[in-house]
């Protein structure tokens, strides 16, 4: 494949974007623009998601069956594509959240122990 589509241009670690998207979508059907806004708001502007990363990720998740999509009227009255979580997506989110928590906990431990030694 000539197109390298894996790494988002933000500083998010590999695979994190998918996790964030799944999390945001648990709050209810939501369109792409709002997902980007929501991530930015919640992270207090630390994480900014580029469209160039967001939309390929959304299509990939939809293709894998983790997200489902339907066209509905948005708050502005225009038709927009709303994503929602599928059962498979919910399971995936749970697993990935747990493994994320384990990983960050572990990293925290390592970083913390280093501080003690100093």
């Amino acid at each position: 494949m000539r197109h390298d589509n894996s790494s988002p241009k933000s500083d998010l670690p590999q695979g994190t974007l998918d996790l964030l998207i799944l999390k945001i979508v648990t709050l209810g059907p939501i369109h792409g623009y709002a997902i980007a806004q929501r991530i930015q708001q919640i992270s207090r502007d630390v994480v900014q998601v580029q469209q160039g990363s967001l939309y390929p990720a959304l299509h990939r998740l939809e293709n894998k069956g983790l997200l489902a999509a339907e066209w509905k009227e948005s708050e502005t009255g225009r038709e927009a594509k709303f994503y929602r979580l599928t059962a498979k997506g919910r399971k995936q989110l749970k697993e990935e959240t747990e493994s994320w928590a384990r990983l960050t906990g572990a990293i925290g431990l390592i970083l913390g122990s280093e501080g003690d030694a100093n």
Binding site: H3, Y33, Q51, Y55, P56, R60, T76, K81
Partner: protein
């Protein structure tokens, strides 16, 4: 969604992707305006934040995983478009391929039906062929048919197999309707169930019926049922009279049932072997039945073989006289051998001939396909070179090398598949004529038809040839330096491709040489064989098998009287010059090979020399027009009670007596008598094995002995085998009706069947050679045509590339003749290289033909010379057109092209 649906909804998906991204963009613009920007500022900022819209779309498409499919679709449509732009090119390429693929598919269809398809029985892999085996092989090999007693013992003892048997049983059916000779079988009651076929009406044979003394029953074939009973259900329970005995019909056999691959028509009737009262059926020396078995559930072939070996050992102990050194063997029942796995004589069975003929033709036809591929490849390459700039441009615009190769291959695949589809149509149309023209009967002909294997083959052949002719142009395309090509402007650099093009021409010529020389050799052989003297005067001779009235076969005296009366009646038919009896007719199937020796001390059986023994009546020499060399022929005094005499041909006279003074000498022929038999005359050799086969036959020497001296116990059997030969003063077949009428006999149940003229038999003995010549001729012609088209195309292209150069030459004083010489010289170089390579390959091919086709002689130089000059001439004519065009180039305009 499936891939296909995605592709199908492709436009919808694209529209939605566009709408989704546009919505995001508009939201962003609205947000920017809310934040205080002007509309144009808001748009600019949004665009900046958004990045490349097309790029995002591409990545989304990639994320959906439909990319390759879309590419393929795009390539496919692009290929169609480019092919449509050059309809002439597309048509020539497709037609070329269709011819190649069509011809190959026909051959494969036949091979598939005859050799590859499993036998049309349920679970064919559980069926095994069974034979007796002897450790004292004769010229016929080790394998023998079963004796009926051995079969019964094996069947009773075997735990691993259910065994069934069958043997020929033909004769005269005299009721209902006119007397007619029919072909039938005697079978064991379980044959149908072992094979897994069932009767279409009525019932199968019952085991308790399969014994002496049971009520006589028969199953009739579909054909006889239609002919004699009009297909009426009342046939079940009706009576047929066969060989003067009544049988009750209990069932109708299915149409198309074949017990042997050589059986070319349905059998008319089936009897029970166990009801046969002939002594041979109780004789452990008479090998009368073929056996076939089905492995019982859970048993393997190896187990069956081991078990048969042990049964064979027991039988040899119990019946040492008959069975010493004898056992029973089982082998996989293969489609190309059929149920009939019997001893083959002279390696000339129809099946064997069919097999080698088919593979030979497939080989020949593959050469045609190869030439077609090379042709299309050179056409494509020429186009690829002229499209070099277009491709360079696309590479410059970012198309990857793989993408370009893939696209070139898609184009050739489209071409190949279209050609293949057309070829399949051609194959379907020419299949029936091909089978009809097949010499003799094609084994399993009814099973030759287009099926999924054939479709698969055609598809594979198309794609493979597409790959073959698509590869060269595809890989060549992007290797050249981009910059160089773009800078080269209108001029293309043909240097590289020139070598490749010459390679194409050389290989095309080489393939064509192989086919042409083979066809030439076959033609030569056919001419030589047709002019051979068969040893008999084949004009105005009719031979016909004859079945005496079953009622007259009771005593030997009756039989002799009946034959005499028949001959007398026939002699009186107007137009008949002479008539005689004969058992084995020259050039017809059937022969009787007997061992002989010049003293009483015969060598061991496998070293005994053999001769073809023919029993005849005295007028045979006159009827057949065989020349008498020395002594006398048989006469009316040579009958039972007088001295046993024979007449031999000059081949045997040479072999046995060195050719000198054979008359009056004695030969020991154990099958005739334990006493020696006297040679009373020498006659010319007759080509018994046909015009083609006789020179290579292992057993050629001939013995004629008087029918009147056939001992009484054999007379009944001999009478079933005798034919009548008639020399006529008019066209022989025109007498057939009056001969039939005259032969009817008092009871009206004597029939003449299988009537042939000797001319027909002589022609048929060359049918295979003629058929091969016809097809090789067609293939060679096709190859020549394709090769010429190829040469023309390549030269036209190469010359057009050289026009500037030619312009320069003409500007400095070269004339039209010089230019023509230049171009022809270039083409002659390629042609001669092809001829050199092809001649070597042709030598190998002719060796193969010599081995596989009877009557072929090593290739003569003159055949080579004739065929090669045809080829070179045709190729030069094809090159002349581009050469002449080049010579008419206007130097000024040519130079301006620079």
């Amino acid at each position: 969604m499936t891939w296909w649906q995605r592709l199908h909804n492709h436009t919808q998906v694209e529209a939605q992707l566009d709408a989704e991204l546009r919505f995001d963009f508009d939201q962003r613009v609205a947000a920017n305006i809310r934040a205080g920007m002007t509309e144009s500022e808001a748009r600019g900022a949004a665009r900046l934040a958004f990045g490349g819209l097309e790029q995002i779309k591409e990545e989304c498409r990639d994320a959906r995983g439909t990319r390759w499919l879309l590419d393929l679709w795009q390539d496919f449509r692009y290929a169609l478009r480019t092919l449509r732009q050059k309809p002439g090119f597309a048509a020539v390429a497709m037609l070329t391929l269709a011819l190649g693929i069509g011809a190959t598919t026909v051959m494969f269809t036949v091979i598939n039906g005859v050799l590859l398809k499993p036998l049309p029985y349920p679970e064919p892999d559980r069926l095994v062929a069974l034979n007796e085996w002897t450790d004292k092989p004769t010229q016929f090999g080790n394998l023998w048919a079963f004796t009926y007693p051995n079969f019964l013992d094996c069947r009773r003892e075997s735990r691993s197999l259910t065994m069934a048997a069958w043997g020929g049983n033909s004769g005269t059916i005299s009721k209902p309707g006119e007397a007619e000779h029919i072909e039938g079988f005697q079978v064991s009651a379980n044959l149908f169930s072992v094979l897994g076929v069932s009767v279409t009406r009525g019932r199968a044979f019952q085991p308790q019926e399969d014994r002496l003394g049971a009520a006589p029953v028969a199953i009739i074939g579909h054909g006889l049922w239609q002919r004699r009973f009009g297909g009426s259900p009342t046939a079940i329970g009706a009576t047929v009279v066969f060989e003067d005995k009544p049988y009750t019909i209990v069932g109708i056999a299915p149409a198309g049932l074949r017990l042997s691959p050589e059986q070319d028509a349905d059998a008319d009737i089936y009897f029970l072997a166990g009801q046969n009262t002939e002594p041979a059926m109780q004789n452990r020396f008479a090998h009368t039945v073929q056996a076939v078995g089905r492995l019982r559930p859970g048993e393997t072939l190896a187990q069956a073989q081991a078990e048969l070996a042990s049964i064979g050992r027991h039988l040899a102990e119990e019946y040492p006289k008959a069975n010493e050194g004898r056992t029973m063997v089982a082998a996989e029942l293969r489609p190309d051998t059929g149920v009939d796995w019997t001893i083959r004589t002279e390696g000339s069975s129809a099946q064997h001939d069919a097999q080698s003929t088919l593979w030979l033709l497939l080989g020949a036809v593959s050469l045609v396909l190869l030439i077609a591929c090379v042709n299309v490849a050179s056409l494509l390459l020429a186009r690829a070179v002229s499209r070099e700039r277009e491709i360079a441009m696309r590479v410059a615009l970012g198309a990857g090398r793989n993408r370009i190769v893939r696209q070139c291959l898609t184009e050739s695949a489209v071409l190949a598949l279209a050609g293949g589809a057309l070829g399949l149509v051609l194959a379907a149309l020419s299949l029936r004529p091909f089978i009809v023209f097949w010499p003799g009967s094609l084994p399993r002909a009814a099973e030759v038809r287009l099926d999924w294997r054939v479709l698969l083959f055609a598809l594979a052949a198309s794609l493979l040839s597409g790959l073959l002719f698509g590869l060269a142009p595809a890989f060549r395309a992007p290797v050249r330096k981009l910059e160089q090509i773009l800078r080269a402007g209108g001029r293309t650099l043909a240097g590289n491709s020139r070598r490749l093009h010459s390679g194409f021409v050389i290989s095309e010529i080489a393939f064509a040489v192989v086919l042409l020389v083979s066809a030439g050799m076959l033609g030569r052989t056919l001419i030589r064989l047709s002019s051979l003297d068969p040893g008999v005067n084949i004009h105005n001779v009719l031979v016909t098998r004859t079945a005496l009235s079953p009622r007259s076969l009771e005593t030997p005296a009756q039989i002799r009287a009946q034959w005499k009366e028949l001959l007398d009646r026939i002699k009186r038919v107007p137009g008949v010059q002479s008539v005689s009896m004969v058992d084995t007719v020259p050039m017809r199937e059937g022969n009787n090979q007997l061992p002989w020796w010049t003293s009483a001390a015969l060598p061991p059986p496998n070293e005994q020399p053999l001769a073809l023994a023919t029993s005849v009546t005295p007028d045979y020499l006159k009827v057949m027009g065989i020349p008498l060399r020395e002594g006398r022929f048989l006469n009316d005094q040579d009958r039972i009670g007088n001295e046993l005499v024979i007449v031999i041909d000059d081949a045997l006279a040479r072999q046995a007596f060195g050719g000198r003074n054979a008359v009056g000498k004695f030969l020991w022929v154990p099958a005739m008598s334990s006493d020696p038999v006297k040679v009373v005359g020498i006659v010319g050799h007759v080509r018994h094995w046909g015009l083609a086969g006789d020179d290579q036959a292992q057993v050629r020497a001939q013995i004629y002995y008087p029918f009147a001296q056939v001992p009484d116990p054999l007379l009944h059997r001999w009478s079933e085998l005798m034919s009548i030969a008639v020399r006529t003063s008019v066209e022989p077949l025109s007498l057939l009706d009056s001969l039939r009428r005259e032969a009817r006999g008092a009871a009206g149940d004597q029939v003449l069947y299988e009537a042939r003229t000797m001319e027909q038999l002589a022609t048929r003995s060359l049918a295979r050679q003629r058929f091969l010549l016809l097809l090789f001729g067609v293939f060679a012609g096709l190859a020549l045509l394709l090769a010429c088209i190829g040469i023309y195309g390549v030269l036209a292209y190469l010359t057009s590339q050289r026009i500037p150069e030619i312009g320069v030459r003409m500007a400095v004083g070269a004339g039209a003749r010089d230019v023509i010489r230049l171009v022809l010289g270039q083409s002659l170089g390629m042609i001669l290289a092809g001829v050199a390579v092809g001649s070597l390959a042709a030598l190998a091919a002719t060796r193969l033909l010599e081995r596989l086709v009877a009557g072929m002689k090593p290739a003569e130089l003159s055949t080579f010379a004739a065929m090669l000059s045809i080829l070179i001439l045709a190729a030069l004519i094809a090159s002349f057109l581009p050469a002449r065009r080049a010579s008419r180039v206007d130097p000024m305009s040519a130079l301006r092209q620079e």
